[in-house]
């Protein structure tokens, strides 16, 4: 979907839009112009953002969710080694899922007048929208022109262009007109239910990343998250990177910093400060090369004494080592996971009722062929009393009558 512009063109574009970016809000004390797109794809920034996005496999990335793909949960008995390998594989997959939503400047709203014909005035009462449906044209470079009732022929606005794309090239869950979820009473409803991820995901699918409406909507959601301090709703999703980037670019990190500090994650705090200082370089407050995480955070506190009221949790952690929300978060975590039991089978409980057989363990005798501690010892024994064993589903039917005989 995304097309990378050639470097020359992008640098030229950045010069053209120098002065203000849609991602930098005007009320911040920003003096210089920034090329936000280039900043976001910078290697250093990407590394910091990836580190800040924690990967929560169970509660976030691979949690149960409604999809159209029907899939059963898969249970398997594994050795420790294989479990580790599987978790690593899942983490790799999660990293793919957590690829950031691109941060782009909005497309320009100004239209180009192609021809003006005063003799054509009132040729019709409504506009004519012409869409090029040539096979080769992509969604980005499709020609859409509009003939106004006063005879003006112009290129389309981004809204019209994307609407024509949605009209003539339909995709599931992408209606022609934007769903009312993206407007306010309903948007606020969804955010009250903590469905930030759902709204952002749908917006990401519905809009192009450089659509002005998309950027406006995501900023609105980010601002509300920041105002309500419910960062938990968006952590470990693909929107967390752009969110942190937006905060750091606007020098608005104290709430998030306090959140990290409250949970005692000093490394994340330091990364966040590093991110802000990369995005907003200032020779007076640069980070020295050998600075530890704690020193970075303490330096930041010293330099920004005005935010001390907002950073109470962080200060408490640094001074007294108090982790305020650890207990709370643990409680919420256990509540969230519910009464789901963590089942681990080992040599001790394999015979009992906690093992894989459950209550049936009283009825059936469980024989451990190869114990975890002593390898090979049982194997020899097994060789001695080797009886012709059937495999698969025949095994059970053959073992049942034997049990009865006993």
């Amino acid at each position: 979907m995304l097309k990378f512009k050639p470097l020359l063109k992008s640098s030229l574009g950045s010069e053209l839009r120098r002065g203000h970016s849609a991602w930098v809000k005007t009320n911040t004390s920003s003096s210089s112009s920034v090329d936000v797109e280039q900043l976001f794809i910078d290697d250093e920034v990407q590394k910091l953002l990836t580190n800040l996005t924690e990967i929560d496999l169970e509660n976030k990335v691979f949690r149960a969710r409604r999809t159209t793909i029907q899939q059963r949960s898969h249970f398997a008995l594994m050795t420790e080694e294989r479990l580790e390998k599987t978790m690593e594989r899942m983490r790799e997959e999660a990293r793919r899922f957590l690829q950031f939503v691109p941060v782009k400047e909005p497309r320009t709203q100004t239209v180009k007048v192609l021809s003006q014909d005063p003799d054509l005035e009132t040729f019709d009462t409504s506009k004519f929208v012409f869409t090029d449906i040539t096979f080769d044209a992509t969604d980005q470079d499709r020609t859409v022109v509009v003939r106004e009732p006063n005879g003006l022929l112009r290129t389309s606005t981004p809204e019209e262009h994307d609407r024509m794309n949605r009209t003539y090239y339909q995709k599931p869950n992408r209606p022609v007109f934007p769903p009312s979820l993206f407007q306010d009473p309903f948007l606020q409803d969804a955010l009250d239910r903590n469905e930030h991820e759902f709204v952002l995901d749908w917006a990401c699918w519905f809009y192009e990343p450089d659509d002005p409406a998309f950027i406006e909507l995501s900023h609105k959601i980010f601002d509300r998250i920041n105002a309500r301090r419910n960062f938990e709703t968006i952590t470990s999703t693909r929107h967390f990177g752009p969110f942190v980037f937006y905060l750091a670019l606007n020098e608005n990190i104290p709430p998030l910093l306090n959140h990290f500090g409250g949970t005692g994650r000093i490394k994340e705090c330091a990364n966040l400060i590093r991110l802000q200082k990369t995005l907003r370089p200032d020779w007076r407050v640069t980070i020295a090369k050998g600075d530890s995480d704690e020193k970075i955070v303490k330096d930041y506190l010293k330099q920004n004494n005005r935010f001390r009221d907002e950073l109470t949790d962080l200060v408490a952690f640094l001074e007294r080592g108090v982790i305020k929300s650890k207990l709370q978060s643990r409680e919420t975590r256990t509540v969230a996971t519910g009464a789901r039991k963590q089942a681990t089978v080992n040599a001790r409980n394999v015979r009992g009722a906690e093992g894989p057989l459950g209550n049936l363990s009283e009825e059936y005798a469980v024989k451990v062929v190869k114990s975890e501690g002593s390898e090979g010892g049982d194997f020899e024994q097994r060789k001695l009393d080797k009886t012709p064993q059937r495999r698969g589903r025949w095994q059970r039917s053959s073992s049942k009558p034997r049990n009865k005989n006993e």
Binding site: F130, D132, F135, V145
Partner: protein, 145 residues
């Protein structure tokens, strides 16, 4: 004896609107038809659809036209297709062709109709004012008497 030809490759095709709507809902496909010389038997034998035209304005007061410009250029340039007047008007409005004279004529007619309507409205308004003023004058005259 009649000679058999493939309509797709024979003669000079024509591009026109084909009505594809239903009752009370017009909707047109912009289609390429085979050569007229093949006779009425081949009239409904559409060679290719190169676009659509929705004559009913949508909720944003827009009439949507889609055109497959790549294929249109083929039929116009390579095959020298004959284009019907409504399609010529659409192509003129889209900026591919010069604007068709009929569009100018319609625009002028619409302007004249609008002007006449405005003039009539102004006249009606002035008449009403006269009527309102006149009885008052009569009343005042009566009071004096």
């Amino acid at each position: 004896m009649r000679k058999l030809v493939i309509p797709k490759y024979f003669g000079r095709p024509s591009i026109g609107l084909a009505l594809f709507g239903c009752t009370n809902r017009p909707f047109y496909h912009i289609c390429v038809f085979p050569d007229r010389a093949l006779g009425r038997r081949y009239e409904s034998n559409i060679l290719e659809q190169v676009g659509t035209f929705d004559p009913l304005p949508n909720s944003k007061n827009e009439k949507l036209v889609s055109l497959n410009f790549g294929r249109l250029k083929y039929w116009l340039g390579e095959r020298n297709a004959h284009v019907s007047v409504p399609v010529l008007e659409l192509l003129g409005l889209s900026g591919l062709f010069p604007i068709h004279p009929k569009t100018f004529v319609r625009a002028r007619d619409n302007r004249e109709v609008l002007k006449a309507k405005e003039a009539a409205a102004i006249e009606a308004a002035s008449k009403k004012e006269d009527e309102e003023v006149a009885p008052e004058e009569q009343q005042s005259v009566a009071a004096k008497v």
